[in-house]
């Protein structure tokens, strides 16, 4: 049987502000992917908005490069805005 392309599915929940990745599925085109996502991923009221993108269009960082990609940030705590003196008048910061 012909294997249809793979799609990544993103759902925004009723309370959520952003679409979150929930999984993947097969479909012939975007229209069918959205309908399949509706049937597979929103049966239990998980969301009110669906995005799909064909998996081949997602490019990811290489896990082998994790050390050079992410480790250098480890000792740069000054990048967090915790070293500023906040005036007393400013609340809720």
């Amino acid at each position: 049987m012909i294997q249809e392309p793979l799609w990544e599915v993103f759902i925004r929940s009723k309370q959520g502000l952003d679409h979150k990745h929930v999984g993947s599925l097969h479909a012939a085109d975007a229209q069918m992917a959205i309908e399949n996502a509706r049937d597979v991923y929103t049966r239990r009221m998980e969301g009110i908005s669906i995005w799909v993108v064909e998996s081949k269009y997602i490019h990811s960082s290489n896990p082998d490069e994790a050390a050079s990609f992410y480790d250098p940030a480890n000792d740069k705590i000054y990048r967090h805005p915790t070293f500023y003196n906040i005036p007393d008048e400013l609340k809720h910061m």
Partner: protein, 252 residues
């Protein structure tokens, strides 16, 4: 009047139950996982509709019928579902074709039933309409895909249309109990929704590169609404009712 309302409500319940049961047979056999889930969802929607109608029917009869006894302990002559709901599933093309033609009918039917003077029927129609809107969309997509797809899929959907078409005429012929309920604005005048149904079906068939058969030269099967069924309903009931027949009152 009360008796007609009971029969009419059963007719609507039987439509949804038999179609839902037929579709449920695809569970685990769909062409791919995603479509397997989709058709099972639709089957569940339909069985849910039938429960609403059966529960209501049970309240308007003087017998001690329940939703379960109405679904599981009546024989085929007492079922008044449309014949299109009981014919065999065939292949994916035939299943989606009969679902599309039936769901489109349900769509325009429930749109009218919302205005019924019977508040309970109107409420069930309103709830069901949302589900049916999706059923029409989903099955219509398949008609278009298969019709405008490969040579093989086109051949199959054409054969499906030819096979299912003679079961569509019955949907627009009112039974006696329907006619008598028209006076009190309880029932839907099914002959009135035929134009809308035709227009929608023509549009989808055109997009699917299929030819609208029309009903001039087609002999249409009838009888389902009055309990005269094809040979298939008995087989469905034998499978569906077996447990309650063999173990009366069985619960789990």
């Amino acid at each position: 009047m009360q008796n007609d309302l009971f029969t009419y409500t059963l007719h609507l319940a039987d439509n949804s139950l038999i179609m839902g049961h037929r579709l449920s047979v695809w569970t685990g056999h769909g062409p791919m996982l995603e479509q397997d889930i989709a058709i099972t969802n639709i089957a569940l929607d339909l069985i849910g509709q039938s429960r609403n109608f059966y529960q209501y029917a049970a309240t308007i009869t003087e017998t001690d019928a329940t939703e379960d006894s109405l679904a599981y302990l009546r024989d085929s002559r007492d079922f008044s579902n449309l014949l299109i709901t009981e014919i065999t599933n065939g292949d994916w093309a035939k299943t989606t074709m009969k679902l599309f033609l039936f769901s489109t009918w349900q769509f325009y039917f429930f749109q009218q039933l919302i205005n019924s003077s019977d508040k309970q029927l109107a409420a069930i129609a309103e709830k069901s309409l949302k589900e049916v809107t999706y059923h029409v969309r989903w099955s219509g997509e398949w008609i278009i895909r298969l019709g405008d797809g490969t040579e093989e899929s086109n051949k199959r959907i054409k054969a499906a249309l030819e096979e299912v078409w003679p079961f569509t005429g019955e949907m627009f012929l009112p039974a006696e109990y329907e006619k008598s309920l028209l006076n009190n604005h309880v029932s839907v005048n099914v002959s009135d929704i035929k134009n809308d149904w035709n227009t929608k079906v023509i549009n989808v068939l055109e997009e699917a590169t299929l030819i609208f058969p029309g009903d001039k030269n087609t002999w249409m099967h009838t009888g389902g609404k009055d309990g005269i069924h094809t040979e298939h309903l008995g087989h469905i009931l034998a499978a569906m009712q077996f447990l309650q027949r063999a173990y009366p009152g069985c619960e789990w």
